[in-house]
């Protein structure tokens, strides 16, 4: 019996040596459902968020798959599928169900739009697969509605609100007025920022709630102007943010007041141009022109997508790469094992330095407080930001002590 075991071990050792030494021996034989790893990018392909995620997210995910294949040369197959959730929670959760039940999808990513993300997270838990959400903003994903099968990867409303709320207030710009989109997302963004402002010794002098997709913002901005607040916080997103900024510029708000976008990305700045946006401040999770790693990757992305990446695009690349590495390391695509591995490793790539997935599913990494450059300071297309502060991972996200997630043991 013992001899037989030794023979087997020696045999296995010889085999593995013969199979090639360059490749990590620690990786066990990979057992996969459906003999492949299948990743689904569920995003908004045609609606208001399609520039933020959309085709760019699909491109980023494909780049991750290609890069992983080139670097790790896995013996198993990887397939990528994508779908449009049309920003509807029911469409998104039905698609997820279909993918999990009939297509053998192992992991869904992007899933921008909080309503869709929350619905997909529930389906994912039920089907025991994985959701690495790189697009949604709601902190509920890692609080009341946290799930052992969901990772929230890029940003959330706490991270977006906290950075400017504290940093800008501490610069002496201590009175705030909010322009808030009148739905759950806007309200929570306003509340999170107000808390951060007050905690830093500032005060909130007022707020105006505007309907979603309002076509004209001049009236609301006039109210912000007459409030005499030093900072006007835009607790809205997408087209509403863009039109608010445009009107703010036209009505001369920017001369005496600082505009702080609470969900503003490089996509918005590119759409508006520097003359309109100069001097604005906000938090970003990624900037292409940060260092050599980010530049190298972003230029490759630009070559395929013809636009520089948003933090969602970069996050999606990083998430897919991290996931594939975890499958490689654990030798399975079974969700519990992969999640356990993710929560025990540190993520280091062009997107996150020292990123960690916490027990509540929050991936914490450094965030950046940026200020938009003046047109004269910009040296090349897409050269838009001055980094004003790096907000360390430990401060950027909601502390575990405040967590409302049942998975967190206190």
């Amino acid at each position: 019996m013992k001899r037989k075991l030794i023979c087997t071990l020696v045999g296995a050792a010889v085999m593995s040596l013969a199979a090639g030494q360059s490749f990590a021996q620690k990786a066990p034989a990979v057992k996969l459902s459906g003999d492949m790893v299948k990743i689904g990018v569920l995003t908004d392909m045609s609606g208001v968020y399609s520039d933020l995620g959309g085709q760019g997210s699909v491109t980023a995910a494909q780049m991750a798959v290609d890069d992983f294949k080139a670097q790790a040369k896995p013996s198993w197959k990887i397939e990528l599928v994508y779908a449009d959730h049309q920003n509807k929670a029911d469409v998104g959760s039905n698609k997820a169900r279909e993918w999990y039940d009939t297509q053998g999808v192992d992991m869904i990513t992007d899933a921008l739009n909080s309503a869709v993300a929350l619905a997909v997270s529930k389906v994912t838990l039920e089907k025991k697969r994985m959701l690495i959400d790189t697009g949604a903003a709601s902190t509920r994903l890692t609080n009341e509605d946290c799930s052992p099968n969901t990772v929230h990867y890029v940003y959330d409303t706490y991270a977006l609100a906290n950075g400017p709320g504290k940093a800008v207030t501490k610069q002496g710009k201590d009175s705030w007025f909010f322009l808030t989109a009148d739905y759950a997302f806007g309200h929570s963004l306003e509340k999170d920022t107000s808390d951060a402002v007050k905690a830093s010794g500032g005060k909130v002098v007022g707020a105006v709630r505007h309907p979603l997709n309002a076509s004209d913002f001049s009236s609301f901005l006039l109210q912000a102007q007459s409030s005499k607040a030093k900072v006007v916080g835009l607790a809205n997103a997408g087209g509403d943010t863009i039109n608010s900024i445009k009107a703010a510029n036209e009505f001369g708000l920017t001369k005496n007041q600082t505009i702080v976008g609470l969900l503003t990305t490089i996509i918005d700045i590119h759409a508006l141009g520097l003359p309109t946006t100069q001097g604005m401040m906000f938090t970003e999770g990624f900037y292409w022109n940060l260092n050599n790693d980010t530049r190298e990757w972003s230029r490759r992305f630009f070559g395929k997508h013809k636009k520089m990446p948003s933090m969602l695009h970069a996050g999606t690349y990083s998430a897919v790469m991290t996931y594939l590495k975890a499958v490689q390391a654990t030798g399975t695509d079974e969700a519990d094992a992969v999640m356990k591995h993710l929560k025990s490793t540190t993520i280091n790539d062009m997107f996150a330095k020292g990123g960690k997935v916490r027990a509540d599913g929050r991936m914490v990494h450094d965030m950046y407080l940026v200020e938009v450059k003046k047109p004269a300071e910009s040296k090349e297309p897409w050269d838009y930001y001055n980094i004003k502060a790096v907000i360390p991972a430990s401060e950027a996200f909601q502390p575990m002590s405040l967590s409302r997630c049942p998975l967190v043991k206190k």
Binding site: D182, Q223, G239, P275
Partner: protein, 295 residues
């Protein structure tokens, strides 16, 4: 400082002024719709998309051919008008004898195609168009800071609206048009080329939308969705004013802009709903609209 309902009178006046600016857009757009409905009996759902197309043409003109704002103000509506004539000749003309619903569905489909096309080309975040240099800066009216460009919007749309009203109600050409609407066969029997008039009317109606689009380009972000955000309100304006009533659409457009502006001060949450509340009330009291005549 004196106050009206707890709002300083200066802020109040400022909001009225802004309401007037928005009202000008509503008036120009609803005027086009009213002309088309009045003359062709077509509910033109593509109006919002053509408004967007006007703004897009202005942007393309500037960025690809270096055509400035003033030329765009002339050329983009012309371009949109030509597109309109093409739509009328190739598709709409076959639907006049059918139920309204067919025209509505066709134009709605066209709107979706146009929006999809521009979304595919330029994405949804939109494109910037800066304010022409002549209008940079603002007037200090004492009670508010009115950007020069917004003042120009009011002036330009009022001029266009009044000119349209004048042509249709007070000139011989307008009389032919009205006659053609009332009784096409009889009018044709008098030797007037009715199909040609109908075609030009549709072209002119959508050119008005294109004109509003160019006016809006510097004030709002040009995006493929800009039309669909606005068109529903404009339809409400037309319904309140009375389908097909020229003067009705102009007056209601401006009036509703003002009411909406005031709502933004007193209860901003309701500012996107107030127009529809008014519409419901008007329909209950006067089903043909404020200025419409029941047939």
């Amino acid at each position: 400082m004196s106050e009206i309902f707890g709002i300083p009178i200066q802020a109040f006046m400022g909001q009225l002024m802004l309401g007037l600016v928005n009202g000008s857009f509503y008036a120009t757009l609803s005027l086009g719709l009213a002309v088309i409905f009045g003359m062709l009996n077509i509910i033109n759902f593509a109006h919002g998309a053509l408004y967007m197309a006007g703004a897009m043409l202005a942007w393309m003109g500037l960025n690809y051919f270096g055509i400035g704002y003033w030329w765009s103000l002339l050329l983009a509506p012309l371009g949109v008008g030509v597109v309109g004539i093409f739509i009328e000749r190739s598709m709409l003309q076959w639907l006049y004898r059918l139920d309204h619903l067919y025209g509505l569905l066709l134009t709605f489909g066209l709107a979706l195609i146009l929006e999809g096309l521009f979304r595919d080309l330029y994405g949804v975040s939109g494109l910037p168009y800066s304010i022409p240099e002549e209008f940079a800066g603002a007037y200090n009216l004492g009670f508010m800071f009115l950007p020069k460009y917004r003042a120009w919007v009011i002036l330009a749309s009022l001029l266009v609206c009044l000119a349209t009203w004048f042509v249709i109600e007070k000139t011989r050409l307008g009389a032919y048009l009205r006659a053609a609407t009332e009784n096409p066969q009889l009018t044709q029997a008098f030797g007037i080329n009715v199909p040609l008039m109908v075609m030009l009317t549709y072209g002119f109606g959508v050119a008005l939308a294109g004109f509003a689009g160019v006016l809006a380009a510097p004030a709002m972000q040009i995006s493929p969705l800009m039309g669909s955000n606005l068109i529903i309100v404009v339809f409400a304006v037309v319904v309140i004013g009375g389908m097909g009533s020229i003067l009705g659409s102009i007056v209601t457009g401006l009036g509703l802009g003002l009411i909406e502006g005031l709502t933004k001060v007193f209860y901003p949450e309701a500012s996107s709903t107030v127009v529809f509340i008014i519409m419901a009330i008007v329909l209950l009291v006067r089903p043909a609209g404020l200025f419409g005549r029941e047939k």
